[in-house]
Amino acid sequence: MTDKELRNELWTGAIPIRLTLVDNEIATMSPPEQMYVMAPRMGYLQTLATQAYEHFQEFLPPGDTRFWLDYEGLPLKWSIPTGVLYDLLAKKRDLPWELTVHFRTFPDEVLLKCNDSQTVRAHFYNSLKEAMYIMYGSAGSVMQLSQQVQTQLWKSIEDGMDMETYDTSTSTLPSSTTQPNKSIRAVPVRMYLMGDKRVASDDPQVGFASMSMTWDHIVCSSRPVPSVDAVNGCGSLGNLLQKVLPELFAAEEKETNEVNVSVSQVPSSMDADTLADAIRTHLSVTSVEGMVLDTARGTASMTVKSMHRSRDEICQQISEGACELELATCKLLLESPVVEQTLVSQAEVWIQGMQLPLSTPLEWLCTNLRHPDCFVHLIVRMPCRLL
């Protein structure tokens, strides 16, 4: 599957949902029929409000209505895209996803107030601005969109994910697909860490049903993540998680003494053996392996190993600016360290409904798996004790 096909898939992805009106809001003798709907993964549940109201209207008691949904008693935050909510909360990924509709007793202490889809629209634009700020250092490009374009852009999401209209409306943004490779400062990541009570208990006596989820079991955060930061190791999904939550990884990770090193500005006269010798001496390492020398580009890459120094020590030496080789002005660059990464059991990482290899580069995630608000929504489900 090409990246383009993947993007198409994501934009057309939807989740079948069955909506049931909450018992205590049924004012008629016979209960209403349940409502079935295909909800776009990258859309927002709040946009179902009108449709749901029309469906359930005649069964409701008179009075003001404020639409909200719950899943097994947990009020759903309307600001989180539908697919993210599903990946985060639906246990056993059951379909259709069973949600309960409410039009009364809006839980103000948990949910942000939401009047109508205009509130969701405002939230969407705030997210988009935040993402743009993280990526390019300014949200100006979003604020310069005309009212007409802003309306059109929001419509493309509200009315069921119209990728073509979205692309047209966002063509002036630096993130636009027509301006590929515009370098970004950082990847906007919205992270949801969920300590799952349902998998956490070591005590088999504790019943499954007795454990209800609350938002206190979930840490939601938005953050800029450096896309290239070899020294701190932020290049891949695994590196990011390692930094945020080291406990997420199995303890068997062994002390490694290998570092991948890239060299640029290699003089064309340089041969592999001389370069290897120079690097071995310079970094005081035991061996240099897997040398790939490209004299045309003046680059080389290799793996260095040391018997008596750790990876961190070697990395530190390089990061301290000790990067001028005696033979020539060569620049040493550390590649993202390749560390064997294994998640602890029962931990899962989900993006766009998929579990991806931990070696996936963040920049690729940002280009291909981001939501219309330009954030990468990243879910980590893990045993409760890790939260």
Partner: protein
Amino acid sequence: METDGTLLGPSTFEECCALFAEAWENTNAGDGSVWSWLTPSRRNGEEHLAAGFLVLERFPIFSSQTDGANRDESLSWEREQEGLLEEYPPLSSRTLQEDSAVDALAASAHDPQRSLKFLDLHIVYSPSYRVPVLYLRCYRSDGKELSWDDFDGILPSKQEKKSQTLETFMSQEEHPHLRRPWFAIHPCQTAELLCLMHQQAEGNFTNNAQELLSTSCPQSSYISSHKTAVGNRRSTLLRYMLGWFSVVGAAVGVKLPLEVFRQI
């Protein structure tokens, strides 16, 4: 700002908050109410937040009646510096009968012209924007919190620009530390605004402010250029905070007294 030359890092933010709270207290800007630094425990996955946030609680403000009909524009949300609190006799000495039964408690400090309200203000660090963000809630003297609809139309910044909707600068957001819905002033233009203010303050006056705002601003310039001397750093950070608060505070009707700027 620590590493890559953009705005505040979380620890500089903490430093800024301490300086701001000190200057506020030294000049008695809050008539006795002071800012305190709260450090709730951070959970896993919250390591990117600052270690804490700055809190000012139960800050009294006076506003005109909220239904726009007979609003006294000159008084609305204008916090008067002296004496107003004293004008209000203790609650016990007031008669409640004259107020409607339903709204008796809420109206106990209610005057046809002005009503007493309280603000809780939190200054919270935004990792995305790398600037301080003002979170707030407002409640009446009976403790009832003002809703979004109550806010709409009574903020001073709203009154000045009637065409501007509340949404353009304020929204309900989840408080990063408390994880509950709060109101927040949008941080999306804070960096540009401060950049503009400080460029002017340093004499690099740009005639075409519009141009400055639309192009990306060399955000590092003013803080990093002052890194050298400790005193300079202190005044730079304090000027940054006071400049910031003079704008966002005014948007919710909390004004800084002039003396506080002498602390720079």
